[in-house]
Subunit: 346 residues, 4 copies
Amino acid sequence: MLYFNCDYMEGAHPAILERLAATNSEHTLGYGNDPYCEAAREKIRQACRCPEADIFFLVGGTQTNAAVIKGFLKPFEGVIAADTGHIGVHEAGAIESGGHKVLTIPHQDGKLTAQGVQRYLEAFFRDGSCTHMVQPGMVYVSHPTEFGTLYTREELAALRQVCDDYRLPLYLDGARLGYGLAAEGTDVTLPDLAALCDAFYIGGTKVGALFGEAVVFPQKNRLPGFFTLMKQQGAVLAKGRLLGIQFDTLFTDGLYLKISAHAIAMAKRLKEILSQNGCPLWFDSPTNQQFAVLTPQLQQFLDGKVSYEVWQELEDGCIAARFASCWATRQEDLTELERILKNAVH
Amino acid sequence: MLYFNCDYMEGAHPAILERLAATNSEHTLGYGNDPYCEAAREKIRQACRCPEADIFFLVGGTQTNAAVIKGFLKPFEGVIAADTGHIGVHEAGAIESGGHKVLTIPHQDGKLTAQGVQRYLEAFFRDGSCTHMVQPGMVYVSHPTEFGTLYTREELAALRQVCDDYRLPLYLDGARLGYGLAAEGTDVTLPDLAALCDAFYIGGTKVGALFGEAVVFPQKNRLPGFFTLMKQQGAVLAKGRLLGIQFDTLFTDGLYLKISAHAIAMAKRLKEILSQNGCPLWFDSPTNQQFAVLTPQLQQFLDGKVSYEVWQELEDGCIAARFASCWATRQEDLTELERILKNAVH
Amino acid sequence: MLYFNCDYMEGAHPAILERLAATNSEHTLGYGNDPYCEAAREKIRQACRCPEADIFFLVGGTQTNAAVIKGFLKPFEGVIAADTGHIGVHEAGAIESGGHKVLTIPHQDGKLTAQGVQRYLEAFFRDGSCTHMVQPGMVYVSHPTEFGTLYTREELAALRQVCDDYRLPLYLDGARLGYGLAAEGTDVTLPDLAALCDAFYIGGTKVGALFGEAVVFPQKNRLPGFFTLMKQQGAVLAKGRLLGIQFDTLFTDGLYLKISAHAIAMAKRLKEILSQNGCPLWFDSPTNQQFAVLTPQLQQFLDGKVSYEVWQELEDGCIAARFASCWATRQEDLTELERILKNAVH
Amino acid sequence: MLYFNCDYMEGAHPAILERLAATNSEHTLGYGNDPYCEAAREKIRQACRCPEADIFFLVGGTQTNAAVIKGFLKPFEGVIAADTGHIGVHEAGAIESGGHKVLTIPHQDGKLTAQGVQRYLEAFFRDGSCTHMVQPGMVYVSHPTEFGTLYTREELAALRQVCDDYRLPLYLDGARLGYGLAAEGTDVTLPDLAALCDAFYIGGTKVGALFGEAVVFPQKNRLPGFFTLMKQQGAVLAKGRLLGIQFDTLFTDGLYLKISAHAIAMAKRLKEILSQNGCPLWFDSPTNQQFAVLTPQLQQFLDGKVSYEVWQELEDGCIAARFASCWATRQEDLTELERILKNAVH
C-alpha cells in the first residue's frame, strides 16, 4: 500500500530522534526554561532576522491558533478568515470555545485578498448597527492555504496595509510553512513574515518534527502574559525541551528548508505523474499538497493499492483527491505510484 | 416626524402601566417567586394548552437566546440557524461568547427548510472528518423571521421530524411572536408551538410590554437548573414580579393577540399605502414588518418627515427600507404617511 | 405581615412611575440612544464632578459586574475580591462563566484592606511558579459591602495606591451605593469615587428604581467597545430610555440621596428597636442592612408576623437575621415591629 | 549538581525511545486511529479489568483535567476539589477559562474526605439561595495528592458513596498514579479505580513517558463526543500513535508498575537520608515526593550542589523543600546526596 493521505503519517526526521535519545538522561527545568528551547529560539530569531522576537513552542496547531487568537482579541471581537480557513472548519469550534466568532470572507484560491478584507471592513463600519455586531479584531491567513496555495509578498504587504489602516493584528498560520518557503517561485521568506505579521507560527508537526509549532511574535512583548495564557489553554508541555530540541535540530544547518525542498521536489514529480496518467489536476498547487480528479473506475482500481484523501465529491461519481508529499516521501514510492497508474490507464 | 423604524420605540400598553402603578407598594419575594409570575405562568400554560410547561421570564431577547442555547448544547456543539438569523448577525457574538458556533444554512425567505437542514446533516455525518468539526446540537428558527415571514404548521412539523431523526432540540425565537400568531392566513398557534418545539419564547418587548420575554419549555424539567443558568448569565430580574405583572396583563382576556391583531391591520394598511404610492414592496411580508424600495429622490423627500430603517442598499442608490407597525401604531399616522407620499409622487 | 427581608420587595419611587407614564407614547431610538439617557448621563456626570465620564445603563447587578469585569481582564487574569464578595458567592458563577477566576482574600468586616491586597500581590509575584497561576488583573470592592459596612475615603485611597503600584484597575460595586453615600459619618462622595475608581456603578434596583444600574467610567474611553460587550452579554435594553428616565428622575433635585437618607433614618430606628427588644446586634452596620441575633423562641414567635432573611445559623439554634430598610420603608411598620417585639420579650 | 526538583526533568524510559525509533518510518492514520493506540487501549482495559472502558490519550495534565471537567459539567456547575488541588492553583485558571468555578473544601493532608464533601453538599442544598450559586457538579481528587499522600480504598469508596447520593461524577487525577499504585501499604489498584471512578487518568508524563496521559472512562460511552471536545480544546495530537506507542510500552510486561516501584524504593531511601542527616521530614509521604525542612544554613550549603523545589516558606528562614524521585532516579545520586548532607551536618 502506498500512502499519500497527508503529511503527518510518519514520525520525525532521524536527526530529531537521535538528539532526543542523546539528551534523554539530562536534567533540565520544565516548561520551556531549558537551554535547548533557548538555543532554538535564538536560531529562529536569526532565521527571521528579528533579534528581539518573542518565541513560544506549543504542541499542535489547533491549540496554537486558539491561544494566539484568544491573546489578540477582546471579548467582543472576532477573527477575519477565509471561509475555507482551518480555524473555521476543522478545529471543532476551538475559536468559538474561546468566546470568539470566526468572521468569514469568501476565499480566492484559498486566500484572503486585501481588497476583499477592505470591502468587508468598509461595509461593516458603514452599517448603522455595527456596534451590535461582532467587531473585527484581527486577520487570520494560512500560508500555504488549505488548497496548498501561496501568498506573494505583495499580497501579504497589501493585507498588512489594510490591517494597519484598521489597526488590526495580522496572524499567519504556518502549519505547513516549510513547504511554502521552499516552493518554486515564491518570494516570501521568514524575514518577510517577521516584517509583515504581528504573529505567525512555524509548523513542525507536518514538517519533520514529531510534533510542535513555534509561534513568533516579531515585536518583543507584543502579547504580555502569553505564557500564562498558553498554560491556561493546556498548551504548555511539561518537558518543554522536547520542543526545543526538535526546533533546534530543524533550524541547524538549514534542515527545515532542506527537507521542505525535498517535499516540494517530490510534489512536483507527483503532479507530473498524476496529470500524465489520467488524473487531471483539480487545482494547481505549488506546494506539497496536490489535488487531482479521480474517476469512479480509477478509485476502484486504486483501492487497496494507493491511499489518498477524498477532498470533495464532484459530479458523476468523480472525486477531488488530495495527494500529499512530505519531508519523508521516497522517490521509490512515486515510481511505484507511476507504475500503478500506468497499469490503470492502459 | 412619523416613526416607522421599528416596533420598540414606544413604552408599554397602558394596561401594563396601570397594573405596575397599582401594585407598586406591595411586598413580594424577588427573582420570580411571586404570585404575579405564578399567575402569568398559569395563563401562558393555558394559552399553550400545556399544563406541565416550565416557564421562565427574562428581560431581553439576546440574553434569552444565549441562555436557552447554552442550556441545550454540549460544549462541542453548535446551533443550526438560517444565515440571516438574529443570533448569527445582530447579537454581537452572544452565542460564541458562550462557547458555541452558529452553523449557518442559506435561508429561504428568511426561513430554514426541513429539506435544507436534512441535507446539511446528511452531508455533515457523511464527512469522514466530522468528529473534527462542531457537532450540530440543536436547530434555531425565528417566527416571524427577520424578514417578517412565517412558517406554516406543516413546515414546522417537517423541521420537527428532521430534529427527531437526528435527536436535536428545536428552539423557536418568538421576539415578535404575537405578530406571527395574529397574521392573516397563518395556521400556527401557541398549542402548535408547544407541541412542536422543545423550547420557544413569547416576545413581550416588541409586543406591548416595557420589556420581557417568556420562555416556554413544554416538557416539564426539560432543562434542569435553567434558573441558575439564567442567574449566571445575568438574566434574572431582582424584582421579578415586573415581568410577571406584564405577562399576566398580556395574557388576560387575550390582550396579547388583540394588540397583535391591531398591528397586523396597521401593517396591511401600510403595505397598501406604500405599494400604491411609489414604494414597491421589496418583499412580501404577512406580519408587522414591511419592506419597500425607495428611490434616492424619495429618500430625500422623506428626510425629516418620515423615519424608517435602511435595511439594505440596492443598486442605483435605491434602498430596501423597513417600515414597522406595532401594537401602538395609530391610524392617523398612516393617514399622514399616505398624505406625505401622495405629495411626493405627484 | 411585616417585611424586612431585603431592599427590593417594592416597585419604584412614585416619581419614576409617573415619568414612565408621562413619556409612554413618545417615540425614541432604542438601546440608550435617546434624550432621556443622555440627560441622565449628564446629571450623573455633574453629580460625580466628572464631565468626561462614560456612562452606561444596565438592567441588573450580576450582568453589570460580569460585563465590567470581562471588559477589564485579559483571558488569563482574575479579579481580587473579599471572600464574602457578591461576585464570588451569589452570582452563580457569572465571572467564571466569562472565563475568569475570582481570587479571594479573607475579608475584614466585609471589606478588603489595602494591606491585605498588598500582601497578596507581594506573595503572588514572589512565588516562582506565578506564571502558572491566574494573574491578578483588577480589584473588586463593594460599597456598602455584603455586611452593610463602608470604606472610608482613606481606605479607598490606600487601595487605589496599591492598585496603582501594580497597575490594576479598581472597580466598585455600588448595588446599594445610595445607602452608603447617605450613611452617617461617611466621608465618601460620588466625586471621591470618580477620583479613586476606574469604574463603579450606581445601583438603582435597590435604591428607588424598578431596575437599573449606571456604570461610570470616570475616564473617557477607558473601555473601548464596552457597548458591544454589553450587547454580547445580553445586557442592553431595547427600550433603553426606561433606564434613562429612571436615572434622570433619581438624579433630579437630589432624589437619589434624599430617599437613601430616608432609608438610613429608618435603619437607625430599626437598630434601636432590635437592640432594645431582645435582638442584640450581630454586627454593627451603618447602612440599610441591620443584622441581629434571634433566639429559637423569638424566631417561632415572629413566624407569620415579621419576615426577615436568615443570614447565618449560629449555635444553640440562634440565627443571625438580616432586617433591611429601604427608600420605601414606612415609619408605621417600624412602630408595629416594636410593638410586636415588646410583646415577645415580655 | 544533583537534581531532585521534580519528576519531569528527564526524557523517557529507554524502551519508549527505542520503540519510537523502530516505528518511525511507518505510515499510520492520525489522531489516535492507529494500531498502537488501539493496542495500548486494550492493554489498559486489561490492567483495569474493564473490557468496555473508553480510553483517550492526551498530551498533558492541564488539558486533560480541563477537557474531562468540561465534559462532565453543565454550564452552571462547578467542580468540588480540595483547596490544594492542582486544578485550583497551578493550572492558570484552565477550569475557569472553560466557564466553571472550582468549589474548594479545606484539605486533610491534601485529600478530600467523604465527610467533608457530605457536609459541604448538605450545607449547600440547605441554603435558601442555593439556586443563585454555582451548583456542585462533580468531585475531583488527585491520587497521589499534591502532598504525595494517598487515599485508601475505603476512603475512595466513601467518596463514591457521597457522589452516588448526590448523583455526582467522581474524577481522579492520576498525574503520578504509578507512584500511588506502587507505594507501600496502599490497597488501591487500577481495577479499584475503574470500579469507583466515573473517570480517571493514568499519568505518563511524570512516570516514564516523554509526555502523555491516558483518560479512562470505565463505562462505555460515558461522555459521548469526548473526542470532539478534546479536538476543540486543542488536546488531540496529530501523530496520535506517539501516545499509543508510549502507553503500549508502559503497559507491556508491567513496565509502568516496575518503574514506579523503583521510584518508590528511591523515595524511601531519600526519606532516610534526609531525616537522618539534619533535614527533618515536614510531611510524611508514602510516594515519590518527599518534603523536608531545611535551615537557612543548610540551604546556603546546598546551593550549587543539590537542586530541590522550595515548597513553602516557614518561620525563621526555614523552608519546606520538595525532593522528588522518579523512574529515572539513580542509586548513585542518592549516595552522593547522603555524602553531601553528612558533610553539611558535621
